[in-house]
Amino acid sequence: MSIPRYDLIVVGAGPAGLCGAIEAAKAGMRTVVFDENARPGGQLFKQIHKFFGSKEHMAKVRGFHIGEQLLEQAKEAGVEVELNATVLGLYPEHEVTVMKEDGIHHYRGANVLIAAGARENSLPFRGWTKPGVMGAGAAQTMIHLYGVTPGKRALVVGSGNVGLVVSYQLLQAGMEVAAIVDAAPRIGGYGVHASKVTRTGVPILVSHTVLEAKGEEGVEQAVIAEVDEHFQPIPGTEQTLDVDTICLAVGLSPMNQLMKMAGCQMDAGIPVLDENLMTSIPGIYSAGDAMGIEEASSAMIEGRMAGLAAANRIGFLDDASFAAAMAQQREALERLRKGMFAPENRGRTDLTETDEHIPLSQTLLKKGFVTERELEAFPGYTHKVGVHPVIECTQNIPCNPCQDACRFGCIAVGEEITQLPAVQEESKCVGCGMCVASCSGQAIFLVNEDAGEDKATVTLPYEFLPYPEAGARGAALDRSGKPVCEAEVISCKVCPAFDHTALLTISVPKAYAASARFFREGAEA
């Protein structure tokens, strides 16, 4: 019996695996990707927010669109993708066993790329097994792949990017979010992700944890409490929230079992890799979350690097072409890995200022919004006559689509994509709103501080249905989500270039030009 052979066997058809397979197949390698799921794309098809980064990282493109593009590229390159195919084992001489519907099959790869992704961490607490407690990713799967919400009102545990993004997505699907709690004393994810949730009225409670899920046959209530510096609940601080869903967003762990099984050298659950992402076993590579939790943007680059390296290792790519292609990918990865959320800054609590030496907003880290006073120090937060962009982007995160969005060069991020965007003094704003729609963090607003008749107008990014109609009345909410004044809708613009980010323009009393940042139809101030 002969074992089918491939030049590259990839485990996992997510962003890392697909990108690795694409590079290998483009180099002429016979490449197969095995994935246990019925659909390819890993978690990309559940990611409906606009990605960060720059053009080379597919910034401002929504995750599921990136997934579609990768599948198209894989098909063009001639990658075989086998679904419902679970890789069970990785043995000497790169032998791979795969369980399919009809039994277990053996394969051999000249190279193997482990891009198996990650699993969601769990958090045990009283009642955590009740129906209604689930992974944040589970809620995302239910809503975005199948259009079914897990409940009506949720508590989200964890304020990393997953917790913040999923909270926003629950709101987009029509659910309510009672609160986001995090035992850490600071919000873990991007400030802009926190702010877009906070301004809708969802409180983010740091130094808080969930104590208990209550309910007879499923979650009906959640008990939360404040924790002390040792993460111990403080008696007397308990609060009971009426929720039917508790989403856990308490981190991810690499799916590293195959590498352990094969005997790859590991360090605290992370495979030891060389600069080409090869493990201690020649020809076995790893990329994406399987080799260390990061973002999908970096997973894609790592996948490409591993694919290129595998191609070079067995002679499908000459050294010079390899060196050039690899250098390009390495630079792209380095550009993503800068700023306050860079891997080397993970868990740091001593950062007090931005790279530009502006004090970091402490309110943002504690409560999820920046105060007006804190904003005044930032280069994107300007006051001008007439309509102009107001950029409330205050942390060094790798992202620069706003810079390219303005045809008139109104916004500059600069050389490093982690630099803070600055509104150029001399430039002219025509009020087109492209910058508002292009900001993956929804941190850009168009403001006219004096629109006449003692009114100001504020244009904000809006991704909820139904879209308010012109003339609709309600309340303007400030950055903390508190209704502050009456507001009337001037317009709600939707166009293909905005990619489902509507531009909602509201009229508010002049005094609220700098504080009105969200709109709730029918609400009273």
Partner: protein, 105 residues
């Protein structure tokens, strides 16, 4: 609850409607969606009861990993409902330990 119109994803739940039963009760869902999602849309949260302590369990990971959502489907126990596509006429039953719960007529 089913999302009819999503601000980013547009119209959802447009698949063909199929009929199935849950513990003998007639329900409808979308063809090919996971059984778990069809149940959730019908307001069903309990998929099984544990054998020792008789505690209810439901959807936890929704991607076929945790096995919390297993049920008896068409007479076969331990079926991961979150990755099992719904088909016309399916007989889905709450799992009690490793057996099907008695049907309620």
């Amino acid at each position: 609850m089913r999302v009819q119109e999503h601000p980013i994803l547009g119209r959802m739940n447009t698949g063909k409607e199929v009929r199935f039963t849950f513990d003998g009760r007639k329900m409808t869902g979308r063809e090919g969606e996971p059984v778990a999602e069809a149940l959730s849309a019908n307001g069903v949260r309990i998929h099984r009861y544990t054998s020792k302590n008789h505690e209810p369990r439901g959807i936890f990971c929704a991607i076929g990993r945790c096995t919390d959502c297993v049920m008896v489907v068409d007479g076969v126990p331990n079926i991961r409902t979150c990755i099992t596509p719904l088909r016309e006429g399916m007989d889905v039953r709450t799992q009690d330990g490793i057996h099907a719960k008695e049907a309620e007529e």
